[in-house]
Amino acid sequence: MPYSDKVLEHYNNPRNVGSFDAKDPSVGTGLVGAPECGDVMKLQIKVNPDTGVIEDARFKTFGCGSAIASSSLATEWLKGKTVDEALGIKNTEIVEELALPPVKVHCSVLAEDAIKAAIANYNQKQETPEPTPEKREPAAV
C-alpha cells in the first residue's frame, strides 16, 4: 500500500503523543474503535474553562500508519480551536490533508469520532453538578 509523504511524516514523528489525567475536569477523553477491529484511538483535549479554547491535545493510537497519522493530525488541528470550532472538523478534511486512499477513509472517520467523543466527555463534565476542583481540594486534603 503506498502511503503519502504526510502519513509517513506523522507516523515517523507523531505530534502530541501522550495522556492527560482523565479525571481532570478541564480534560475531555474520547476512546473509540475496538482491538478486534484493529484500531483504537484515545484522544484527549485540555480546555481553558474560561475561554472554551482547547489549549492542548494528546493521543494514543493502536492501528495502522494512517490511523496514527489521522489522530496525530487531529491533535494538531484541535489546539487553539474553541470546542465549538473543533466540532466542525470533518473526516473528509483529514482524508484530503493526508491523501488517504479509499481503504483508509475509516481511519479519518475514527479520528472524527474520537474528537466528538472527547468533546462530549468534556461537555458532560461541565454539565454534571460535580464538585468543582476548588471544593474538592479540601476534601482531598
Partner: protein
C-alpha cells in the same frame, strides 16, 4: 483449496472441513473419525503458508491407503524445504509450484499416481487433447525446464539449507521474543517450516508495525482495509483472538537471507514494537492494570 471445495459443494459434492488444534495441526485420528463410507478424497495442505505448521502427512497417507481413499496434498510450501516422498507418505496427488523454490513464476505441477491406485482425473480444459488429453494446449517449455532446474537445486541443497534457514529463524525468533515481553509465536513450536516465524506482538497493530519496518518484506495477519476488517482466518482457526491476530507479523527466511540481515531485522522490530507500544492506548491501559476485556469497545 477452500475455494475449490466451495466449487465442489456447488457441484453437489459433500465436503467436511476439519478444525485444527491450537498449533494448526490435524491428526490422522481426526480424519479417521470424519470419514464415511462415501469419502473418496482427503486433501490436506502439507504446510501452511502463514504459520508454517507442517501436517503429519505420512500418518494421514497411511490412513487413506488403509481406507482406500485418495489422498491429495498441497505441498507448495514444503517441496524443496522438507523431504517429500510420495511412496513413503502414501500420496496420490500432490501440487507444487516453481516460484516457491526460486524457479520461474507461472509454472507448477500436479503429481498424479499412475498405479496402486491409478488416479483418474477429469481435464480442466478441453482442446487439442495434448498430454493424453489432460492438458490441452502448447506447453511453456522454458518454464517447465525452470521448474525442473529449481527442483534439482533445491534437492541438492536441501539438507544444508534446511539447517541454515532453521538456525537463522531461531536466531531471529529468540532475538525478538527474548527482548519483547508479550510476543507470541503462532503455529507449532517444532513441527513448522524451517524458515517461517509468525509472531504476534500484543498491543501493536500489524500493519502499523509493517510501516515502521518498511525496509523489510514481511506480511501481516491484519488486513486493515475498509473492505475487510477481518484478521487472518488461519490465525482465527488456531483460536488466536482477533486482537492478537491483528498484531501478527510473518517473517520468512530464505536462501539469500544472511545473519547480518536477521540481526538488523530483530533490532528494528524490537525498537519499533517498543515505540508503537508507547503510542498504544491498549498498552497504557494494561500498564495501569485495566483488563481490556472489561472495556465496552465501540466497534465500527
Amino acid at each position: 483449496m477452500l475455494d475449490t471445495c466451495k466449487r465442489l459443494e456447488r457441484d453437489g459434492c459433500q465436503v467436511t472441513y476439519l478444525p485444527v488444534d491450537k498449533f494448526g495441526r490435524v491428526t490422522a485420528d481426526q480424519i479417521r473419525a470424519a470419514m464415511t463410507d462415501k469419502t473418496i478424497l482427503v486433501s490436506i495442505m502439507a504446510a501452511n503458508n502463514e504459520i508454517g505448521t507442517v501436517q503429519p502427512i505420512k500418518a494421514i497417507g497411511q490412513l487413506c491407503k488403509e481406507k482406500g481413499v485418495l489422498f491429495h496434498t498441497d505441498a507448495v510450501q514444503v517441496v524443496g524445504k522438507v523431504p517429500v516422498d510420495v511412496e513413503e507418505m502414501g500420496i496420490d496427488l500432490l501440487s507444487l509450484t516453481a516460484h516457491k523454490i526460486y524457479g520461474p513464476k507461472g509454472v507448477g505441477a500436479l503429481y498424479v499416481r499412475k498405479k496402486d491406485p491409478r488416479v483418474r482425473l477429469e481435464p480442466q480444459m478441453d482442446g487439442g487433447g495434448h498430454e493424453r488429453g489432460m492438458r490441452s494446449g502448447t506447453l511453456a517449455v522454458p518454464m517447465i525446464v525452470g521448474l525442473g532446474a529449481a527442483c534439482e537445486i533445491a534437492h541438492r541443497e536441501m539438507a544444508e539449507e534446511t539447517e541454515r534457514t532453521y538456525r537463522l529463524r531461531e536466531r531471529l525468533r529468540s532475538s525478538i521474543m527474548d527482548r519483547l515481553p508479550e510476543s507470541y509465536l503462532n503455529g507449532h513450536p517444532t513441527e513448522r517450516l524451517p524458515g517461517n516465524a509468525n509472531i504476534s506482538f500484543a498491543y501493536v497493530e500489524g500493519e502499523g508495525l509493517m510501516m515502521g519496518i518498511k525496509d523489510v518484506a514481511v506480511s501481516s495477519g491484519s488486513a486493515c482495509t475498509s473492505a475487510s476488517l477481518e484478521p487472518s482466518y488461519v490465525l482465527r482457526a488456531l483460536g488466536v483472538g482477533d486482537e492478537l491476530a491483528h498484531s501478527s507479523i510473518r517473517f520468512g527466511i530464505g536462501r539469500f537471507t544472511t545473519e547480518e540481515e536477521v540481526d538488523y531485522v530483530a533490532d528494528l522490530v524490537v525498537r519499533e514494537v517498543s515505540r508503537l507500544r508507547e503510542m498504544s492506548p491498549l498498552y497504557e491501559m494494561v500498564q495501569q492494570g485495566i483488563d481490556l476485556k472489561s472495556i465496552e469497545w465501540a466497534g465500527h
